[in-house]
Assembly symmetry: C2
Homo-oligomer: 494 residues x 2
C-alpha cells in the first residue's frame, strides 16, 4: 500500500511518527508549509507541533500558501506556537491573536511570497512541511489538493518533512503543473496563453537528501462551509448577470466572456452559481481557489476549463469530486500561486476578477481586510493580484453588514487595499456602479445612487455635497470622513 | 527639406496650417495626443485649439501619454477647452481647474490607458494628434522624444493629424521600439528579457488614409526644470547608497544592482546622480522618463543601457543630448508606455523602483497624489506600475514639506496610492526604514525611529502608543488619524 505512495525504498525507511517529526521543529525556526485555503495543509506534523508547544517553549515563524484548516492554524494559535504568520489566514483564534498583537502577521499579495523568499527579503527557511499524494522515483512529489508555494518551499528549505496523505486519490497525479520562471537576471517568460496551457511538469522536484522524515496521514482537508447564498447574494448575482449581458450587447464581451477569477467566501461562490442558469457558455476560469461552484458549472456544461492553485470543497462536494476525479481532471490545472496569480499572465489573458469587499467608499476605494481600519479579518489574499491587472475589476458586497448596523459604503474607507485606480465595478444587492471612465466626483454620484442601502443614502449624499462645497479633486470632510467607523466602535452602529 | 521628413508625395499634399487643423476639432470630441512628461507633445494644433476655444464653444476630452508642456496643457486649461483629461498632468493652471471641479480628471496607472482604450472602457477616439520626426514611405511615423500611447492612438483613432517637428534631429530614428501584444483572446507574450531587448519595429504603423492633415513645427519640447538637489535630497541619496552597499555586502545584490526605475521630480533626479560617485557600475535602467541624470550616468561610465518611454531634459541637457544623439542612441530604447510600464516585464526583470511620496504613514502606506487627501497634485503616473511589481519598492521624500509646517510622515495618510503591501523601503533625509518582513506594528516602530523629523517624532510616537492600547492588527485612533491634515487645512501647519 505504501509502495503505491512512496516509490523509493530509501525514503520508505524514513517514515517517522508525527511526534518525532514535530520534535525536529525548534523554538525560533522558520517553517514553510503547504496549504492554500485549507486545501493540502499539514494534518499531522503541525498539529503535533501545537501539542508540543503546550509543554515546550516553541514559537515559530510560519509561512504558507494561504490559509490552513482550523486544525492547523487554529491549534497552533491556541497553543501560542506562532511568533509570526504570513501571508494569509482565516482562522477565528489566530485572528484574535493577530489583533491582540500576540502573533505578528504579514498580510501579503499571494503572488509575492515566493518573490520575497527568492529575493532574500525573508529569512531562510529551516523546514518545509509539505503534504503529498505520492513521492515518485526521482524524489519529486505529487501535491494533493493545492500547489500554493510548495514548489519554492521545497527548493529553498534546508530540510523537508513530507506528509503523505493516503486519503487523496492517486488519480490527482497529472492535475498539477509545476513551473518556475527562474531567478534574476535570467528569468524567462511564463508562456501561458490561455487557462488550459500546461507549461511545466506534474510533480515538484525535491532533493531526496533534504527529506528528513515522512509522516503518513489519512485525514481529509477541513471542509469549506457549504456556502449557500441568500437573498442579498442572489440580487448581487442578478445585477452582475445583467451587466455581463449588457457588455455582450455592446460588443465588448462574447457570451463566453473572458477567463473568470472569483474570490473566496459565500458571495463569490453564489455569484459563480449565477452563471448556471445564465445565457453564458464556454466559460473558463483563471483563478486561485476552485470552490464548489466551479464544479456546479462543470456539471451544468457551462465551464470548459478551470485553472487555480487549490481545490477547496464542502464535505459533500469533496466526495463527489474526489470520488470520481477522472471526470474532472482533464479540465483542471493546479499551479504554483506565483503562476495562478502572476500579474503578467492575468493581464495577458484579460481576466475578469470578482472579489469581495468589506467596504468601499464613494470614490471607489476598497477595504477588504480591516474592520474599522484596525482589526484584521483575513488578509488581502490574491484579490489585488487580480484586481490590479484584470480586464475588468469587480468588487461585490452586501450593502449592509451586521443586520443593517453597518453600511458597506462609507464616506472614506478606513483602510485601503484596492485603490480607486483598481476598481471598475462595484455591486451590492442595491445595484451596480460602473466606474469606468469616470472622475472621482462622477464616481461618487454613481456609487451613491446605485449601491447604497436606503437607510444610509441620504447621509452619504449630504456628506458628498458638503465636501464638494469645500472643493478638491476628491472632496472630503476630514473631520467627518472616518466618523461612521468611530461611531461603530463606540455604539455598535454607524 | 520637407522631403527628408515626409517620404510620400501624397502626404506632402496634406500639409495644412495649425489653424486649419485646429478647426477640425469640434466641441465634445475625444482627442488623443502624443506627449509624455512634456516630451513629444503637440506644439501647434493643441495650442491653436486653445486659441480657438476663446471664441468658439469648444470643450474636449483629452487623453495623452502623460503630462504635456505648459504651452499645451496650461493653455488648454486656461482657455476652458478641457472637459475631461487623463491620465496624468503636472500643470499649475490645469491642477487648479481639476481641484475646482471644472475639469474632470482621471488619474490612471500609465500602463493602463492603452488597455482601457482597447477594451472599449473609454469612448472611441475622434482624432489623434501625434508629433513625428518623420513620416516614412509606408506611412508609418517615427516619433520624437517620447512614444507614450502614440501607437495605440494611431491604431484606434478615426482620424489622425500629424505634427512634423523639424527641430528634432533625424538621428532619433531607430531609438524607438514599437510593439503590441495584440488583443484578447490572442495576446502574445512581451518577450523582453533585459532592458536592452528590442522586440518591435522602429516606427509606428499608420493607415495613410486616416491622416487628415500634417502641420509643420520647429518648436522644442518645454524644458524640464534643471532640478538640482539640495541638502535634503543629498542626504536621501546618501542613505540609499548605504542601503544598496549593505545589500551587496549581504549578497542579495551585485554591484550592477538590478534594472533601475526612477520617478519624476527633483528628488528622483538627484538620487540617480548619487550613483555617479558610488561604487556601483554597469547599471541599467528600465524606467519611464529618462531625465538629465540618466545622461550624467552615461557620461560617468556608470550606466550601460536605459529603456524608457520618453526623454525629458532641461534646456542645456537638450542641447547636449540631441546635439550629438549618435553618442547615446545605441544605449537607449524608447517604448510604448504599456511596455515600459508592463507589470509582467517589471516583475520579470526585477526592477528596483524609486518613486517620490508626498507623504507616508506609520504603517507604510503612501500618498503620492492628494494634498490633505483632497487636492490633486499631479497624479499617480507610473509609480504604482513599478512599485507593485518591482523587486524592491522604494519611496523617498523629504521628512518635512513647506518649510517644516508639514510632516511627510503622518499617523494615517489622507489618500492611499500605494498600499502597505507595495512599499519595501521608505527614505527621508532623516534615514531609511527597511520594512521587508515586518508586520504593521514593527513597521511603525522602524518608520518612527528612522524617517520622522525631530519636530514631529514625539507626537507620532505618542499616537502610535495610544493606538496600540486600543488594539488591532493596525492600531489607529480614528478620531485623531486625520487630525494632522485637518490642522494643516485650518491653520497652515500640522
Ligand atoms: C471580505 C471578506 C471578509 C468577505 O467574506 P464573505 O464570507 O464573502 O462575506 P460576509 O458578508 O459573510 O462577511 C464576513 C464577515 O465580515 C463582516 N463584515 C462584512 N462587512 C463588514 C463591514 N463593512 N464592517 C464590519 N464587518 C463586516 C460580516 O458581518 C461577517 O462577519 P461574521 O463572520 O461575524 O458574520 C472575504 O471575502 C475576504 O477575506 N476577502 C479578502 C481576501 C480575498 O479577497 N481573497 C480572494 C482572493 S484569495
Ligand atoms: C510626489 C511629487 C509631487 C513630488 O515631487 P518633487 O518635485 O519630487 O518633490 P517636492 O518636494 O518639490 O514636492 C512638490 C510639491 O509638493 C509639496 N509637498 C510635498 N510634500 C507635501 C505634503 N506632505 N503635503 C503638502 N504638500 C507637499 C511641496 O511643498 C512642493 O510644493 P511647491 O511646488 O508648492 O513647493 C511627484 O514626485 C509626483 O507627482 N509623484 C507622483 C507621480 C510619480 O511618482 N511619477 C513617477 C513615475 S511617472
Amino acid at each position: 500500500m505504501l509502495h503505491e505512495r512512496i516509490h523509493r525504498n530509501d525514503l520508505l525507511q524514513r517514515v517517522i511518527s508525527r511526534e518525532e517529526a514535530a520534535s525536529r521543529i525548534k523554538n525560533g525556526m522558520v517553517v514553510a508549509t503547504s496549504g492554500f485555503t485549507k486545501a493540502g495543509d499539514s494534518k499531522e506534523v503541525l498539529p503535533a507541533v501545537a501539542e508540543r508547544a503546550l509543554t515546550h517553549p516553541l514559537k515559530i515563524t510560519l509561512m504558507t500558501g494561504a490559509s490552513l484548516g482550523h486544525g492547523t492554524d487554529g491549534k497552533l494559535a491556541e497553543a501560542g506556537a506562532l511568533a509570526m504568520r504570513l501571508p494569509f489566514q482565516v482562522d477565528p483564534v489566530l485572528r484574535r491573536k493577530i489583533n491582540d498583537g500576540e502573533v505578528l502577521f504579514i498580510d501579503q499579495h499571494l503572488s509575492e511570497t515566493a518573490e520575497y523568499i527568492k529575493a532574500g527579503h525573508f529569512p531562510p527557511i529551516d523546514y518545509a512541511i509539505i503534504e503529498a499524494a505520492q513521492i515518485l522515483a526521482d524524489g519529486s512529489i505529487v501535491p494533493t489538493t493545492s500547489v500554493g508555494n510548495s514548489a519554492i518551499f521545497c527548493q529553498l528549505a534546508r530540510r523537508i518533512i513530507i506528509e503523505v496523505n493516503t486519503v487523496v486519490p492517486l488519480s490527482v497525479a497529472g492535475v498539477h503543473d509545476i513551473f518556475s520562471a527562474g531567478t534574476y537576471p535570467n528569468r524567462t517568460v511564463i508562456p501561458i496563453l490561455s487557462p488550459d496551457c500546461r507549461i511545466g511538469r506534474p510533480s515538484i522536484p525535491v532533493d531526496p537528501e533534504k527529506i528528513e522524515g515522512i509522516v503518513i496521514t489519512n485525514i481529509r482537508d477541513s471542509a469549506a462551509e457549504a456556502a449557500s447564498g441568500d437573498a442579498s447574494t442572489a440580487k448581487i448575482a442578478g445585477h452582475l448577470m445583467d451587466f455581463f449581458s449588457w457588455e455582450v450587447t455592446k460588443g465588448r464581451l462574447k457570451e463566453s466572456l473572458q477567463p473568470l477569477q472569483a474570490g473566496i467566501g459565500k458571495v463569490a461562490n453564489s455569484i459563480l452559481r449565477g452563471f448556471v442558469d445564465s445565457r453564458f457558455h464556454d466559460l473558463t476560469m483563471y483563478s486561485e481557489v476552485l470552490q464548489d461552484s466551479t464544479f456546479d458549472l462543470f456539471d451544468a456544461g457551462k465551464l470548459n476549463f478551470a485553472s487555480g492553485s487549490s481545490i477547496t470543497l464542502s464535505e459533500s462536494y469533496y466526495d463527489k469530486v474526489f470520488g470520481d476525479f477522472g471526470k474532472y481532471k482533464n479540465r483542471l490545472i493546479l499551479r504554483p500561486q506565483e503562476i495562478s496569480n502572476s500579474v503578467g499572465v492575468i493581464r495577458r489573458l484579460g481576466v475578469i476578477s470578482i472579489n469581495t469587499a468589506l467596504e468601499c467608499d464613494i470614490y471607489g476605494n476598497v477595504n477588504s481586510t480591516h474592520v474599522t481600519g484596525t482589526h484584521m479579518m483575513n488578509g488581502i489574499g490574491g484579490s489585488e493580484d487580480f484586481a490590479r491587472n484584470s480586464y475588468l475589476s469587480i468588487f461585490v458586497t452586501s450593502s449592509v453588514a451586521k443586520g443593517g448596523a453597518v453600511s458597506s459604503v462609507v464616506p472614506m474607507v478606513s483602510h485601503v487595499d484596492h485603490t480607486e485606480h483598481d476598481v471598475d465595478i462595484i455591486v451590492t444587492d442595491e445595484g451596480l456602479a460602473d466606474l469606468r471612465g469616470l472622475s472621482p466626483r462622477q464616481r461618487a454620484r454613481v456609487i451613491i445612487e446605485n449601491t447604497v442601502h436606503r437607510d444610509y443614502r441620504e447621509r452619504l449624499q449630504s456628506y458628498f455635497e458638503r465636501a464638494v462645497k469645500r472643493g478638491g479633486h476628491t472632496p472630503h470632510l476630514l473631520e467627518e470622513a472616518l466618523s461612521w467607523h468611530r461611531s461603530l466602535q463606540e455604539t455598535g452602529r454607524m
